[in-house]
């Protein structure tokens, strides 16, 4: 394994996911935590030329003045994981990486300024590779139009300041792909999910992946729905109610933005079952829960002889601690793919997302089979 300098640029760096990624990488480097939660730490990936977690250099963009030490301390829910002592032990890296984060109001950013930041970070840090991952707050949904289909149209949208036609996430995605940096969208925002951008990625030999990390309730849905299908049990209704209290939750309490998230969460069950049961996914902001996302799901189904039955589950997970290792996994896998010359939507990464780019598969086990097959096929 040759020594490489690799960078990870986080859009929304000082959010709870971004700061958990930073804390996690620093803590892994010092072996203060183990690799629990990292998919790429499973034995099946041991023979791949993945970048060691200790090698990543972090940078990013933000709209708020903050730093990783402070942001990690603010991740709530009273988890010892984010204890003063762990954070202090990682302060050296966290402070160094905080200095790489560019703070600018969203309205002052544009395609050029963003691309400039990326290239500048790449050059200053003498990086061999740089991956850009969006972990910023969710944007309202955007309807695709003809202008989204080709680069000429896209250029027009870039010139316009209308974020309802081309949201910030897509402008950033464009800047990254255009500069040949792989781009991953961990949020339900539009990002690179635009025909013109996907085509650009393919033509520029840039891997892209997304959208919307599958971290909790939807993860569970993606194994339970196949179970009902396998037993030919008829799902009558599937209700999911999510409550959470971090900034992500606060942003989602805006109904227009919530729409993006609910849409992304809600189609998984029907896609797996092959029919549409009544399905309702709701999200509410509950301040006291901080980062503890709690979901209650109620599944009403019919069995043999028409007997109606019920299953319920409650998922109580720390959202950032579920998301952060997947962000690190994606950085490692996408950088490897770029070195291998792969380009465009990375179908084998479907297991990581609620709305996988380039793949129709939502069944977690089948998605994992695709990923494991990929890993096996390229094992050295």
């Amino acid at each position: 394994m040759t020594h490489r300098r690799v960078g990870l640029w986080l859009i929304g760096a000082f959010g709870s996911v971004g700061s958990s990624v930073a804390l996690g990488l620093a803590a892994l480097k010092r072996k203060h935590v183990d690799t629990t939660g990292l998919v790429t730490a499973l034995p099946e990936f041991s023979r791949l030329d993945l970048d060691p977690v200790s090698e990543f250099i972090l940078g990013g963009s933000e709209i708020r003045h903050d730093d990783f030490v402070n942001a990690a301390s603010a991740v709530g829910g009273g988890m010892p994981a984010y204890s003063k002592s762990l954070i202090e032990s990682c302060r050296h890296d966290l402070d160094e990486w905080s200095a790489n984060v560019r703070v600018m109001a969203a309205k002052d950013r544009n395609f050029d300024s963003f691309q400039h930041e990326l290239r500048d970070f790449y050059r200053r840090q003498q990086l061999d590779q740089l991956v850009v991952i969006n972990v910023a707050s969710t944007e309202p949904p955007v309807e695709l139009q003809a202008d989204h289909n080709d680069l000429v149209g896209l250029q027009k949208l870039v010139q316009s300041d209308d974020l309802q036609l081309l949201p910030a996430s897509s402008r950033y995605a464009y800047a990254a792909i255009d500069a040949s940096f792989p781009y991953v969208n961990f949020t339900p925002s539009l990002g690179a999910s635009i025909p013109a951008l996907l085509a650009l990625a393919t033509s520029k030999d840039v891997p892209v992946a997304g959208s919307d990390g599958k971290t909790g309730e939807t993860l569970v849905k993606s194994v339970l729905a196949p179970m009902f299908a396998a037993r030919n049990l008829k799902v009558l209704s599937w209700v999911g109610h999510n409550i959470l209290g971090n900034r992500d939750g606060k942003v989602l309490s805006d109904p227009s933005i919530r729409k993006s998230k609910v849409r992304s969460k809600d189609h998984v069950v029907a896609d797996i079952l092959g029919y549409q049961p009544q399905s309702l996914t709701t999200i509410e902001y509950v301040d006291s829960l901080d980062d503890w996302k709690t979901a209650w799901d109620h599944v009403h189904f019919r069995g043999f002889l028409g007997v109606p039955m019920r299953m319920q589950f409650t998922w109580e997970g720390c959202d950032s601690a579920l998301a952060a290792p997947l962000v690190i996994d994606l950085a490692r896998l996408v950088l490897l793919a770029q070195r291998r010359g792969e380009a465009g939507p990375m179908k084998h990464l479907a297991a990581f997302f609620k709305t996988p780019l380039g793949a129709e598969e939502h069944d977690l086990t089948r998605q994992m089979a695709m990923l494991m097959e990929y890993a096996h096929s390229i094992s050295q």
Copy 2:
């Protein structure tokens, strides 16, 4: 598809599973119910030469005097599925089949009397094939010994009346296999899970399958445990508490018998994860619940940065309505296998069982993949 006369012999015919199988077959024949809950009704099986559900002729053995009409009416929990009107509409078949059930106290049975019943039913009904399925109450666990390893030893055990060395379920299994009738064990009792019997089945060209139908809580475990594994989340403890009120539950309130069941339920998680978290499965008899088996599972796991998290689920299923269609599926698949010349443990049927004979796989999706691959490979 040639017309065949096929028989299904149920050991424990008038139990709630047995009577649900009878009611279900009769109701399917009249199209009073649809095929929800039947795995073999999934499109993937449509091109297989399976016996139509309308063709089965039922017989069986019992220790209690009863009949299918009465037994089905007694399935509790107030489910309209077992309504008077449905049962009345099926009375013709149910009464005919009730007449095929041989009632005899366990102590009065032996290898010969049982084999005689099977052959007699086969001859009188002019059957082309007969499958024997054990849906009787669970027996206490039995430790295997040297005598279980070959037919000579087995013969000795048959001669002895000691049910602790060779329980009734295994005597029946021996009688069936020796007469070349396929045998399926839907319970956690010992049945055919004896080296000498498995060898006999192979040499006699008889398919066998088992043990312990995977109908509810364990079914859910077998998709959730792979999810934790796929995300590299460390399961710390997995507690399952089952409450139920049917005769199965009453029998399980005997601690020595409960042991068989708990053992069968408890190893699934560790087998899938590859390590042993603290795991506790308990079963209690709660009269008022009748056939409504309710399970609460609490999973405590650790994620990235060492954060402990929790998942809980409650499963509220009508046990017999979950089991009955799987019994019908197994009858169809095992009879097909016999016609195809397959013998010994049917590994491709692992998806149906908590402790699959001849297969180490417990992950439901992988088990289903094995079954679907089988179905695909033999589709006409």
Copy 3:
């Protein structure tokens, strides 16, 4: 106990609550069901001069053409309680009572026509007393104004056709009280909760009671919230998510109407605790659940040393079977009160309501103590 002829007029007679009241009264009369669920069947009420449940003569108003037999059959969820055989056994009464129900579109009704119906039913049936109970669908909330304060203003509102100023429930309440018939509002609609009407009831010696029957989730809240208060545990947030599939649920899926219900459900916790934790109550219509109202509540609280803890509950109740006996209880208690010369808001009935008229108390045990004290004080 003198023989009396007493009538119960149900506004919204053919709804699921109304038809359950009818079925229940008829079945109680024939002793086909016992008195489980009836508060007034508790021993503490045995020495009161309550009207026997077998004596009630039913009438009512509706906007849909239907009858009690059909309406009771349509109560969903597959409950044997609403089985054909039970309903058939009660057909005689149900048909007789159906003939007493006046069907008219809401727009064709007015104060006079409604009062005429009531007087007509009273006269034809030669009743000694008649109680009017609103079990119709919930209306949108109404803001009280100066005109609601006295009869002169109320007269103006009656003349106007504006249902946003004076909804149908209040017009009906006015008509009943003006005719000296006691009025009970089992719904969150405005009904008699108007200063002018409460004053009229007092001056006319008419008992009134309401609002919004406390049948399920809120019932549980009204015993759990006092528990947290008694232990000085600080409730941080209380989230309730209700799913149901009957017509009540369908009506509530209209956001403007849902507001009435949620408002009524949501204030109970804060009123009991004496401070306002973050509190969110949501209601969703889930077709497949029919009359099975299922609620999930998540309570986040802080204990000694600042430790955050959690309690969750799931309530799965048949809404109509919970409401119907309380409607019968209220009819009996309000008629008794009228005979005793009590008038205006019946504070001792607070235990039956989410928003009790004339009482600030929400703690169920304290409410029950008020009721029991009343029962004790008037026991013969």
Copy 4:
């Protein structure tokens, strides 16, 4: 309020409850935590002459060599409540109090040595009053015999070394009462629940209270059961499954000891309802949960028209943080009672216990009413 020196002697001082009491008292003194969880901090108690929480001097007995700093640090579950920084800030008091704890193996203790310790602590610390509270591990149940009825018999039992006739908790209780120190039993062990000891307490003017602190699942039962009774809903079965991982849990995994606990938990529902539904309470030790006691309860009940319904709840509480403030409350209330000349079983303290000494009442709200009435009657 005169200045008094008051002592609290904890039997089982270094257990998780004992060390939480110590940490809590020290932290309250420094105002590092607020009074959440303390019943005696409710406004209703503000005019009582209770000892300030800052005045207590701690001592106790133990079988293990340890100290409060270390014991509090070992309270698991990763709660920041037991953080290094809080514990360090309280080190001064904790160390001083640790020095007051006498460590001795159970077998080396006897009536005299225990009484000597108490008197010695009382004298050295120049105390005005001393209360003894048992927070040690649960003992196996003991059947009462004739010798338990009077002091002569009791003396015989004290002489004998047979702990099955007179367990350690009762020997300690005797020693305390005989020395005129009030005694509180926070555990299900026998303690002072012996006719001879209760009579002695009364004759010696010593208040006693117990048994078994009502901290979690049973607390919830004691408000839910009255709700079902108030609505005349028939409870068919009540199943409770408790999992926990602290030392208390480990001790309870011994079936003979578990019996004491389950007996104490199980009778509450029947006592409140006035009839015995099927009721099953189970407890399992689950290492990973540490001090997080998690309980699942499933209540099956029948409503009007015979409709069966269900309620479930999950309680996730930190056992020690629930118990500790109640221990402090009891110390304050019992010392006050002694100053007021009250003696024998303190009925007004029933709200604190699963098996209240001298009171039949299990309904929490009624128990609280008794306590509040007491507080009101003696308010200055």
